[in-house]
């Protein structure tokens, strides 16, 4: 109960500080808050926008939940999201399911580069995953300017993907996939031996080693699962929303996943509510950009405030 109160407080603090920062630069805090509200939950259209943003956020959030629970610093959601999108568009001609499977595989493989470097060369994954993000961004830039560029050759983007997720109005069925993934993640973490080993590794790797857990292998598996979730996010975003790739495809969803996971106190089911909140924030920030010409970067700012507020309540636990 207390953890829920802390999470709600942190979310409220972020929104209030946003309004306050706006006031510092001469915007009316009330109109700012009302634009945020109307742009996120004020209409059916806004709500759909919020839910659409929540889908990738939930999946990248789950990716971080799995990794941090295992004590692995996967800050590479952004890169895994991108390679997921790349794999999905390449595999799209074979249909939706192969495309999403390819996205997960690509995300897992990209994340595994970092765990391999950690195991063989002792390179800290907190840095390698970040560096792999930048590498993926330029890989995407090369792809949409080179081999995957649209046939018309006009813009640096790909042609439309050859398959798409079934739509429900503006929404797509990715929302069910994302929610199902969080149930699977919850079941995996709390109801399987694999989940117990994974959490034990994160809780205390030395104790886990004494208990006979192969910590190295556990880290590799956690990283692969985590990467698969972020890759899936990229695949779903491609097949459900953007339908093509362009340079700014990832739009920070990978990094935002960290805020989603921490607000959810690293709980897979809590991540659903957390992703909905940040989805609303991103959606509302988009409306601020359109109607009040305030940078949509305020959503990123809000994510930071949420994390810092949580720390103040000393509830951020990403033990290693």
């Amino acid at each position: 109960m207390r953890r829920l109160a802390v999470a709600v407080l942190a979310a409220a603090a972020a929104v209030l500080l946003l309004a306050f920062s706006g006031a510092l630069f001469g915007h009316s805090p009330w109109s700012l808050l009302s634009i945020l509200a109307s742009g996120s939950i004020g209409s059916r259209f806004a709500l759909e926008g919020t839910l659409l943003k929540s889908i990738p956020l939930l999946l990248t959030g789950l990716s971080v939940v799995i990794a941090f629970r295992a004590g692995v610093w996967n800050i590479g959601g952004e890169g895994q999201f991108i390679v997921g999108g790349l794999a999905a568009i390449v595999a799209a001609p074979w249909g939706v399911l192969p495309s999403l499977a390819a996205a997960m595989l690509a995300g897992a493989a990209w994340a595994s580069i970092a765990s391999a470097m950690r195991l063989w060369r002792n390179a800290p994954e907190v840095l390698t995953t970040i560096l792999l993000n930048f590498t993926a961004i330029h890989l995407l830039g090369w792809s949409v300017n080179g081999p995957l560029r649209e046939r018309a050759g006009q813009y640096p983007q790909t042609d439309l993907a050859e398959s798409a997720l079934p739509l429900m109005g503006r929404l797509h069925i990715g929302i069910f996939i994302a929610i199902a993934t969080s149930v699977v993640a919850w079941w995996l973490l709390y109801h399987t031996a694999e989940g117990l080993r994974l959490r034990a590794t994160g809780f205390n790797p030395n104790a886990a080693r004494w208990a006979g857990i192969s910590v190295g292998k556990q880290i590799v598996r956690a990283m692969a699962i985590s990467g698969a979730a972020a890759g899936l996010a990229g695949g779903i975003e491609l097949l459900g929303v953007t339908h093509r790739l362009f340079e700014r495809f990832a739009a920070g969803y990978g990094y935002s996943g960290i805020a989603v996971a921490l607000l959810a106190q690293l709980h897979p089911l809590g991540s659903i509510a957390s992703a909905a909140f940040f989805g609303a924030l991103v959606s509302g920030a988009g409306e601020l950009q359109r109607t009040a010409n305030i940078s949509s970067g305020v959503a990123t700012f809000g994510q930071a405030v949420v994390i810092l507020t949580l720390i103040v309540f000393d509830h951020v636990r990403a033990d290693r």
């Binding site: 060369r121 330029h138 090369w142 305030i294 970067g297 930071a304 994390i307 720390i311």
Partner: protein, 281 residues
Amino acid sequence: MFELIVSSIPLAIVASIPLLLAVEGELVVQRGGIINLGIEGMMLAAAMSAAFAAQASGSVVIGFIGGIAGALTIAAIFGVFTVVLRADQIVTGTAVNLLALGGTSFVYQEVQAFKQQIPQLRTDPILPLAWILIPVALGVILWNTSFGLRLRACGEHPEALAATGRSVKTHRWIALAIEAILVGLGGAYLSLALSNGFAENMTAGRGFIALSIVIFGRWKMKGALLGTAIFGLAAAMQYALQAANRGIPYHLLLAVPYLVTLLILCGVAGRVRAPENLGVR
């Protein structure tokens, strides 16, 4: 190939100055037991506050002071959370990066001063400072003074320092302030000398590359300089290759700095010994 390397040296020396200053700053805090992942955000904030101060005042000097002020602000936030509240350093660093990324893009759109002319840097005192004076001074301070010994004790075995009645927190705050001054200069150099003002996310991962180079250099000043030199040369050759137009796609060349850094991290052969208490809350 040899020609390509030689011709890239001058650019490498200048273009890697912000990175070098960040490496030097991060070396100091890591010796004191703190991993500052927020260094990326610190440099970004400094680049913006420097550009703002320079454009609003018309003076480069005030611009550099503004850069330091911006970096110190971020250091204060990072310090309150990690030194005072003893929060997790990676989580705090990530939050600080998001704070700076979102905050700078918000402020950049709000403030009119960024549209004004940027004053030019006529002479470059930062170059010898970054490559010679600061490394020598920091080397002496860290390894030849009692303050340096105490700071390194904070990184290896803080209880030992505490047992002598001295404050670990004070030493870490000083280390953070030194880092902020260096990163502030680096950020200012980035927006005032290497570019024509501020641009969103202009640090492009330099902070993370700096952290990697500190590890590659095994937490030594010589290693830090060598790592920065190797990296700077590789990054500069990217431009030479681009100009030579050898048919390597531009976007793949842009990935070179990050690939080189990944290789640098993997090149840390065997097990390197980090400061014993690095990153421990």
